[in-house]
Symmetry: C2
Subunit: 215 residues, 2 copies
């Protein structure tokens, strides 16, 4: 199965394709050509065809893509046709932030538990969730069939928490801690450094200013 | 000034360099060679030299980089040597999430106001901030010298809110709304689609499973 090695760049574009397809569906659009899709999404038509060819079976040459069909196929490729059970590790400001964010989800991703190392937070509430003691995480992951651990703890504790989650059997780690962590090869890892994005924004603001683009 | 056109890839790596340098500083490390830095950060030594050469003046061939000096230069390049005043647009779950996240910041980025379109939220509190009426945003940006607008409103309102912020004079937009928006060339834009990252995680989890990597 050599051709299953899809580049990360392609994978990272799929959620974006899906978002646009969903908006098209809402507007009642049923078919779209790669050219029309290109104008909408801002990638070239050949890039779009190439990306989707990675997964094969999107054919329909000359007829365009079925918006619903393509959206469903992308969701199946991404694995969005099932539910994921998640735990939030860390109930500080970062954990609260991510918890509030997960409440905007509809569907596939569900928070089933919130855990904390700091004893003073254990037993308190985060939304509808009672904050649980980190000591119980391994058992919880097993009995509750947790798929994803979201790491929102301090930099100093991030690797240890990741190690314990992987040991407990999660299949994916979503890391928001302000440090890079390592996971074994059988666990998937996605990292979000929100502050990196903000720092890049600062750079671009100053770059525009330097080039005389500001008022 | 031809050489001021730095690729986005380089700019997006700078915050990461800075994070590692800060951790080194905390540990009391004063000098680091590109080879040692490479082993730590996971880019090749030549990549590191090439990235930093974009900005010139990091020289010290054979002596390694001064950790503090390099960190300060990167901060100056990113524009982190000044304060940024930010407004959060939208006080729903997404706005709450980002507000909680900003509380983890130390230093350069400060929330100075929270705004909402929905009348039922206006006047309520988000943390220490009274949620203000969206109608007053243009005046607020001018009188409070707001630099950055953080967009946390619904998809349907994102472009209108961005337009108003740009008209009011913000220099940067940090977009968390689940849609792509456009801004005029004198305004910098950074986009965070957290759900895209989560969907990529789902893909990688399923990919590992398909390849027999799961237990």
């Amino acid at each position: 199965m050599k051709n299953t090695k899809i580049s990360n760049a392609v994978i990272n574009r799929l959620p974006r394709y899906r978002r646009y397809l969903k908006e098209l569906e809402k507007k009642g659009v049923e078919k779209i050509s790669s050219k029309e899709f290109s104008e909408l999404i801002g990638y070239t038509a050949s890039q779009i065809r190439q990306d989707l060819n990675n997964f094969g079976g999107f054919g329909q040459q000359g007829y365009g893509y079925s918006v619903k069909g393509l959206r469903e196929e992308i969701e199946a490729i991404l694995g969005l046709d099932r539910e994921y059970r998640m735990v939030i590790m860390g109930a500080g400001n970062l954990g609260k932030a991510i918890y509030n964010y997960t409440k905007t989800f509809k569907g596939a991703f569900r928070v089933v538990g919130v855990f904390e190392i700091r004893k003073d937070l254990i037993g308190k509430k985060l939304g509808t969730h009672e904050i649980m003691d980190y000591e119980g995480i391994v058992e919880f992951v097993e009995t509750e069939h947790v798929d994803i651990g979201i790491i929102c703890v301090d930099r100093e504790n991030a690797q240890e928490v990741a190690d314990k989650l992987c040991f407990a059997g999660v299949k994916g780690i979503w890391n928001f801690a302000r440090t890079d962590i390592e996971v074994p090869p059988h666990v998937a890892l996605e990292v979000v450094h929100l502050s990196d994005s903000l720092h890049a924004l600062a750079y671009h603001m100053n770059d525009i200013k330097k080039k005389g683009g500001s008022r």
